[in-house]
């Protein structure tokens, strides 16, 4: 494969998209659109940080990139760049910008395109030490740990596993890139909707359930939820 046109990875509160600094802008953005369209459910609603490196990006190009993302329900939250031209363009579009000095891990940048292997050391994950309230959406290309509740109306989408150390009442999607071995764990499992890979279940209606830690996984082509003791 020639140089990667784009690399996408989950960061704290959204996705980091690094665009090739040398390939043609048109082919880079086409590829980006294609990648997002292929996995709409995964990307939907994410806040995007774009890393443009040394490439000078004029205002009209940046503005079309922003539009490309917005048309797909993503918001461009930060533009990282080493080029003054690019940062100038970003500022004139009222975008937040920063110089690349952040501790990127260049060695690992290519790993994101490989399927996530939960056993593999080095799989990225994020931890949230707070309750996710209605309207909040978390995206990760790795695992997600929420140290708090996931309230109704909040959403967690992860390529890997989702662990909720608290009450899970929102929507959760584990294995969002297709990994059927992904699991969802919660201390109190009562999600509005639970998805693993391409399977979807809702919580059975009912009054008071016994509250105990449970794990959801795929077995025999369906999602099963069971207690772990």
């Amino acid at each position: 494969m020639p140089e990667e046109l784009i690399a996408i990875k989950g960061i704290n509160d959204g996705l980091l998209i690094s665009l090739s600094t040398t390939e043609k802008w048109q082919s880079v953005t086409d590829e980006l659109a294609k990648r997002i369209d292929d996995k709409r459910a995964f990307y939907s609603g994410a806040a995007i940080v774009v890393e443009l490196g040394a490439r000078p990006v004029p205002k009209y190009e940046l503005s079309s990139l922003k539009a490309l993302l917005e048309r797909r329900g993503l918001s461009l939250s930060l533009v990282r760049s080493d080029s003054d031209t690019t940062r100038q363009s970003a500022r004139s579009l009222n975008l937040t910008t920063s110089e690349n000095g952040l501790p990127a891990e260049p060695a690992r940048r290519h790993a994101e395109t490989n399927p996530v292997n939960p056993e593999e050391t080095g799989t990225r994950g994020v931890i949230f030490r707070r309750t996710l309230r209605s309207g909040r959406t978390i995206h990760s290309e790795g695992h997600v740990v929420v140290f708090g509740d996931v309230n109704p109306g909040a959403k967690v989408i992860a390529a890997g596993d989702v662990v909720v150390w608290g009450k899970l009442r929102g929507t959760v999607h584990a294995g969002a890139l297709g990994d059927e071995s992904a699991v969802v764990c919660a201390l109190d499992m009562n999600p509005n909707q639970l998805r693993i890979a391409s399977y979807i279940v809702t919580s059975p209606p009912g009054k008071r359930r016994k509250i105990l830690p449970e794990v959801a996984s795929i077995r025999d082509n369906q999602i099963v939820v069971e207690a772990r003791d």
């Binding site: 309750t131 309230r133 209605s134 109704p152 109306g153 009442r169």
Partner: protein, 273 residues
């Protein structure tokens, strides 16, 4: 919450919001304003619901409006000219919303300017936020020192309250405190309405007031004499209690659902956990 007397130039700006409409924000704002004034505090209530003003009606001041908040912001009137003194309390003022404009007529910065000008001369500035999460809410939130979230014990109101709390946290205005309005004891007992415990379970916020459903609220709102002036009203008393808690007093909760466990839980919240 601290108990010491506030010095001049140190008003607390308290925004009353909810997310969902119709849960009783305006009623709560009017009643808290009146309760605080009746406790000897200097109070301004601001109606930030531009285009859908209501607070003036509930406070019985509609026919005295000459200038409004938008007139002040756009320089057609001085702040003092737009402040309507309450009929009964000399230290209670209303700044009404404009009825003919919309939320875009003012900006969050305008609200900060207006409240900063008032801080010096008052103890409390209450802002009645419009429903929703858009500009109107941003306007009301920007100057806030703290936020009260009004909700009803029903799923949709609690969901919207949760969303609002997320936005308040993101704006670093603290998680806010909760007023549960229109609790119907009878329905809770039958298991048909969320209890205050259920609401707490989802939102995880300190509860500063539980207001029972009370028919007197409706007639009071229509007549422009807020219910808290009526000593026979349970809701009126509950609003009075909220006002005293805002002032830092340790007021026990009325026992509404006959469940001592809930009561203990709230008291614990107010002990600072």
């Amino acid at each position: 919450m601290e108990n010491e007397e506030r010095s001049r130039g140190d008003a607390r700006v308290i925004t009353v919001s909810s997310g969902k409409g119709g849960v009783g924000k305006t009623t709560a704002t009017a009643n808290l304003g009146i309760s605080l004034a009746s406790l000897g505090k200097r109070v301004v209530v601001i109606d930030a619901d531009i285009g859908l003003r209501n607070l003036d009606i509930i406070m019985g001041l509609e026919n005295r409006i000459v200038y409004d908040l938008v007139d002040v912001v756009e320089g057609r009137s001085k702040l003092r000219q737009a402040m309507i003194k309450h009929k009964k309390f000399d230290d209670l003022f209303l700044i009404p919303a404009a009825q003919t404009r919309d939320k875009m007529a003012i900006s969050p910065e305008d609200m900060v300017r207006v409240t900063d000008e008032l801080r010096e001369d008052f103890d409390y500035i209450l802002i009645d936020s419009p429903a929703g999460i858009e500009r109107g809410f941003r306007n009301a939130l920007e100057p806030a020192d703290e936020v009260l979230i009004v909700t009803n014990p029903e799923v949709s109101a609690v969901r919207d309250a949760d969303r609002i709390v997320g936005l308040i946290e993101a704006a670093e205005k603290g998680p806010g405190k909760l007023i549960i309005n229109r609790l119907k004891t009878e329905l809770v007992r039958k298991g048909e309405m969320l209890s205050s415990d259920d609401v707490y379970d989802i939102l995880g916020l300190a509860i500063i007031g539980i207001i029972p459903e009370d028919e007197m609220v409706l007639s009071a709102s229509n007549s422009g004499i807020p219910v808290t002036l009526n000593m026979n009203s349970q809701a009126g008393m509950a609003f009075g209690n909220v006002a005293r808690r805002i002032m830092g007093e340790d007021v026990p909760f009325m026992n509404l659902d006959g469940n001592p466990g809930i009561l203990r839980r709230f008291l614990r919240l107010f002990d600072g956990r």
